[in-house]
C-alpha cells in the first residue's frame, strides 16, 4: 500500500486510542477528585498532565481544574486534547476514503460531527460523565467497526499497530506517574488509589476476576505489565504489535523495528517484579517509554519515510 496511506492509518489508530485513553483517565480522575482536598486536587491534575506528557505544554494553573479539563478536552491548539485527536483522526480518514470501509469513515465522521454539535465547553462541566462515556463509546465503535468491516490486510495492520503502540505508551506512563503516590499511601486511601489506577485502564473488574483478592501492588503491577490476556497490559500491546509487524514484512531478514520490539518484549517479559517494587520501577518505566518511542521511530523509517527507497528497495509489481 501507499506509504502515505499506511502512515495516515497508523496515526488514525493512535489518535482514536489517545482520545479514548484520555477520556477514561479524566473520567476516573474527575470522580476520584470529588473526595480530595484542594491541595490534593492540584496534585491529581498535575499527575494527569504528566501521564499524558503534556505538563510542559499546559500554561495555566494546576489548581484550576476547569482550565485543566478545557485544555485536555477542548483545546484545538493542544494536539493531545480529545477534540483535536478526533479532528486529526477525521482529517486522516478523509484522506483515506478510498482505503477504509465506508462504514469506518462514517463512524469516524459521525463521531467528529457529534462532538462538533455538542456545546462541549458547557457539557464537559455540567455532565462530564456523559461526555466521557460518549467519547469512549464512539472510540470503541470506531475500533469495532474497523474490526468488523476491514479485511485483515496491511491497512488494518497499520491501524492496529498505531492503536496498540499508543496504548502501550499510555499504560506505561500511567504506571510511571501513579506508582509513586501509591506505594506510600496509607490504608483505605491506598486501596482507592490502586483501584483508580486499575479503573483508568478499565482493568479493575478483570483484575478482581484474575486474582480474586484485595488489590496488592505486586499483583497490580504484574497484571498491567505482564498479562498476556488483558488487552491493555503493556505486554499484550507489545506482542500484538509484534504480530502485526511480522505480517507486514515478507523477507526473512528482521527489520530494525522488529529487532527493537523483540528486545523490548523480552525486557518486559523477564523483568523481576520484586526488585522493581524494591526501588527501580521508576527507571525501568522511563526506559520502557524511551524503548517504545524508538520502536515507533523505526516503524516510521521503515515504512513511511524510506527516503532513499530507490536504492534500498527492489522494484515490485503489485
Amino acid at each position: 500500500m501507499l506509504s502515505r496511506h499506511a502512515e495516515d492509518l497508523y496515526w488514525t489508530g493512535r489518535y482514536i486510542e489517545r482520545a479514548e485513553d484520555t477520556a477514561r483517565l479524566l473520567d476516573v480522575t474527575h470522580h476520584g477528585m470529588l473526595e480530595l482536598s484542594g491541595e490534593d486536587a492540584a496534585q491529581a491534575n498535575r499527575d494527569v498532565l504528566e501521564v499524558l506528557s503534556l505538563e510542559t505544554r499546559f500554561t495555566g494553573s494546576a489548581e484550576d481544574s476547569a482550565a485543566v479539563t478545557n485544555f485536555l478536552v477542548l483545546d484545538q491548539d493542544n494536539p493531545g486534547s480529545i477534540s483535536s485527536a478526533v479532528a486529526r483522526a477525521r482529517t486522516n480518514a478523509r484522506g483515506l476514503r478510498d482505503r477504509i470501509s465506508s462504514e469506518l469513515w462514517e463512524a469516524i465522521n459521525s463521531f467528529y460531527l457529534d462532538l462538533q454539535a455538542l456545546d462541549l465547553s458547557e457539557e464537559i462541566h455540567e455532565h462530564p460523565y456523559q461526555v466521557y462515556r460518549r467519547v469512549k463509546n464512539s472510540c470503541q465503535m470506531v475500533t469495532g467497526v474497523a474490526a468488523e468491516t476491514m479485511p485483515r490486510d496491511d491497512g488494518y495492520r497499520f491501524l492496529t499497530m498505531g492503536r496498540l503502540l499508543e496504548r502501550a505508551e499510555m499504560t506505561t506512563r500511567l504506571l510511571d506517574v501513579r506508582y509513586h503516590r501509591l506505594v506510600d499511601s496509607p490504608g483505605a486511601m491506598s486501596f482507592n488509589r490502586w483501584a483508580a489506577l486499575l479503573k483508568s485502564v478499565s482493568a479493575y473488574e478483570a483484575y478482581l476476576k484474575e486474582y480474586r483478592a484485595a488489590v496488592d501492588p505486586i499483583q497490580v503491577l504484574a497484571f498491567l505489565l505482564l498479562s498476556a490476556d488483558f488487552p491493555r497490559s503493556v505486554q499484550f500491546c507489545l506482542q500484538g504489535t509484534e504480530r502485526e509487524l511480522a505480517g507486514l514484512i515478507d523477507t526473512g531478514v528482521r527489520s530494525d523495528a522488529q529487532r527493537l520490539l523483540g528486545m523490548v518484549c523480552a525486557k518486559v517479559e523477564y523483568c523481576d517484579l520484586g526488585s522493581l517494587l524494591g526501588g527501580s520501577l521508576g527507571d525501568f518505566l522511563d526506559e520502557l517509554q524511551e524503548d517504545i518511542w524508538q520502536v515507533g521511530a523505526a516503524i516510521d523509517t521503515h515504512f513511511f519515510h524510506h527516503a532513499t527507497d530507490l536504492d534500498l528497495h527492489p522494484y515490485v509489481t503489485r
Binding site: R97, N109, H313, V316
Partner: protein, 478 residues
C-alpha cells in the same frame, strides 16, 4: 430567436406522458412529507461526507451540494438521439486532438479552424506535441454540457475535456433517490448508472502502454483540500485502485512508480484530476508542489499513459467550441446531431457587427473563465456594464464569445414545501477507450434561486437525479 422557455414536465398544464406517474406519486404524498425526505437526504450526504469545499473560504467549510428530490426524466427514444450526438461529437473532438498533437494537423491546413484560434487557446500546450494517446483517446472522460432551448431542442453549451467533475453525484444521487422515493423509482424502468466505475476502469486499462500485461491504474488528486476531493476518492474506490498525490509518485529512468510500504511499485495509467499546468514542474509550472517531476518524459517515452491527455484545453476552449460542428463534418463527414448554441466570434467582421448591434440581447462569455464567472447577460446588464463590455470586445476580441440568450428549460423542483419551476441543464459523461460509451443520463444541475440561469454549484446550484427510461413512458402505477 426563441424567447420562450421549455417546460420539461408539463405541456399546456398537463404532465407529459413520461412524467405522469411521477407527478401522480408526488402529489399523493402528504404536504411536508417531501420536505422530511429531503432533510433525510441532506443528513445522509453529510454523514457520508459527500461535500465540496467552497473555494476562497477558509479550510473546514464543507457544504453538501443540495440534491433536489424531483428527478428529471428522459424518455428512451429521446436519449438514443442524445447518445448518438454525444458519441459523434466526442469522436470528432478526439480525432481533432490527435490530428493536432500527433498527426499532420490536416484540419488546420485545410482551414477547418484557423490555426491562430487554436494556438491562442489557454489550454493549448506546445509541450503536448508528439505525446501519443493510445486508442486515440485524448479525452477518456468528457463532460458535455447540454441545455434545451425554447423549442425543446438539446444543444451543446460547452465541452469539458480536461477534468470534468460531477459524476460522483450522478451515482450518489441515484442511491439517495432509491432510498428517498423507493416507490416512485420502482414504478419506472430506469436505466442503471452504477457500472460507471467498471466502465471507467476498462477504458483506462485499454489505454495502458502496450508493454504491460496487467496494467496498474491510479487516480491522481491534488489532495484533500481540493474542492472535488470527495469525487477523486469516490472514483478510486469505485475502481478499486489507489488514490495518489504527487508526493506518492516518483519517476526513475522514465518509468513512473508509487511509493508503497513494500518499496516502489510501477504505475501504467494515471487518471489525473490535477490540471495540466501543475502536472510536471520540469515542463510546466516550476512552483507546482502537486506534480511529479519527470512524468511528462515518462509519458513521452511511452512508459505511462495520462488520462485525460495533456493539452486537451485546445479543444474545449470557448472559441474553439464554435468550430466543433465543422470538425464533425470534416473528420466524420456527418452532419452534427446535436447543434451548438448559435455563437458569434468578435474577430469575424460579420459576427462583430451582430454582436455590437444586439449586445443587449446576447450573452457574452470570457473564454478563459469557468464556473459561470464573468458572464454578462445582455438583457440583465446595465448601461455601464454594456459600455465596458464594448470596450473590452474591441480591445480583446479573442477573449470573448457571444451567444444567443437561451432561457434553459425548467423543471419542477422542491422549494420549501411546494413544487416550483427552476432552470436546469445536463452534463452527460462520455467514456472513450477501445469503445465509446455514454452513461445513461448524467448530472442534471438546477439553479435554485427563482429565475436564475446559473446552475454552478459555487453559485447556488443544486442537482437532480436523472432517469433515462428503458421506454418512452411510465410503467403503470402499482
Amino acid at each position: 430567436m426563441l424567447k420562450t422557455t421549455f417546460a420539461e414536465a408539463y405541456d399546456n398544464g398537463e404532465p407529459r406522458l413520461h412524467y405522469r406517474a411521477l407527478m401522480e406519486r408526488l402529489h399523493s404524498l402528504a404536504p411536508g412529507d417531501l420536505q422530511g425526505r429531503a432533510r433525510l437526504v441532506e443528513s445522509t450526504f453529510r454523514t457520508l461526507g459527500i461535500t465540496f469545499a467552497v473555494s476562497g473560504r477558509e479550510e473546514g467549510l464543507e457544504r453538501t451540494w443540495p440534491m433536489d428530490l424531483v428527478p428529471r426524466i428522459i424518455p428512451g427514444s429521446e436519449w438514443e438521439i442524445i447518445e448518438a450526438g454525444l458519441k459523434q461529437r466526442v469522436r470528432a473532438l478526439n480525432l481533432f486532438l490527435d490530428d493536432l498533437y500527433v498527426g499532420a494537423q490536416a484540419a488546420l491546413h485545410d482551414g477547418v479552424i484557423p490555426r491562430w484560434v487554436v494556438e491562442s487557446a489557454d489550454g493549448y500546450l506546445r509541450e503536448a506535441h508528439g505525446l501519443r494517446a493510445p486508442q486515440g483517446a485524448h479525452c477518456v472522460v468528457a463532460g458535455i454540457d447540454l441545455i434545451r432551448d425554447g423549442g425543446g431542442v438539446y444543444r451543446v453549451l460547452e465541452d469539458n475535456l480536461r477534468v470534468p467533475s460531477g459524476v460522483s453525484y450522478v451515482l450518489e444521487n441515484r442511491v439517495a433517490m432509491t432510498r428517498a422515493l423507493p416507490i416512485a423509482f420502482r414504478n419506472h424502468a430506469v436505466r442503471p448508472v452504477s457500472h460507471y466505475g467498471a466502465s471507467l476502469l476498462t477504458a483506462l486499462r485499454s489505454i495502458a502502454p502496450t508493454a504491460s500485461g496487467d496494467p496498474t491504474v491510479v487516480v491522481l488528486t491534488p489532495g484533500i483540500a481540493n474542492s472535488a476531493y470527495f469525487e477523486h476518492a469516490f472514483l478510486a474506490r469505485q475502481m478499486g485502485v489507489e488514490l495518489v498525490e504527487g508526493r506518492d509518485l516518483v519517476v526513475q529512468d522514465q518509468v513512473l512508480f508509487m511509493r508503497t510500504t513494500r518499496g516502489l511499485a510501477r504505475v501504467d495509467v494515471v487518471y489525473s484530476r490535477v490540471g495540466d499546468e501543475f502536472l510536471d514542474p520540469v515542463v510546466f509550472r516550476h512552483d507546482s508542489l502537486l506534480g511529479i517531476p519527470g512524468i511528462v518524459s515518462a509519458y513521452r517515452a511511452g512508459n505511462v499513459t495520462i488520462a485525460n491527455a495533456i493539452g486537451n484545453g485546445a479543444a474545449d476552449d470557448k472559441a474553439v467550441y464554435a468550430y466543433v460542428p465543422d470538425m464533425i463534418r470534416y473528420f466524420l463527414a456527418e452532419e452534427p446531431i446535436l447543434p451548438n448554441v448559435t455563437t458569434y466570434l468578435p474577430w469575424q467582421n460579420e459576427d462583430r457587427e451582430q454582436i455590437f448591434d444586439r449586445l443587449e440581447e446576447l450573452v457574452v462569455k470570457p473564454v478563459a473563465e469557468a464556473g459561470g464567472y464573468g458572464i454578462v447577460i445582455g438583457s440583465q446588464a446595465d448601461r455601464a456594464t454594456l459600455e465596458d463590455l464594448r470596450a473590452k470586445l474591441t480591445a480583446q476580441p479573442r477573449g470573448y464569445i457571444a451567444q444567443e440568450t437561451i432561457q434553459l428549460s425548467t423543471h419542477p423542483t422542491l422549494i420549501d414545501a411546494s413544487l416550483e419551476e427552476r432552470h436546469i441543464d445536463l452534463r452527460p459523461f462520455v467514456l472513450t477507450g477501445e469503445d465509446i460509451e455514454v452513461i445513461p443520463g448524467g448530472l442534471t444541475r438546477v439553479a435554485l434561486p427563482e429565475g436564475s440561469l446559473i446552475v454552478n454549484s459555487s453559485q447556488g446550484g443544486g442537482s437532480k437525479d436523472t432517469w433515462v427510461l428503458e421506454d418512452d413512458g411510465a410503467v403503470a402505477t402499482r
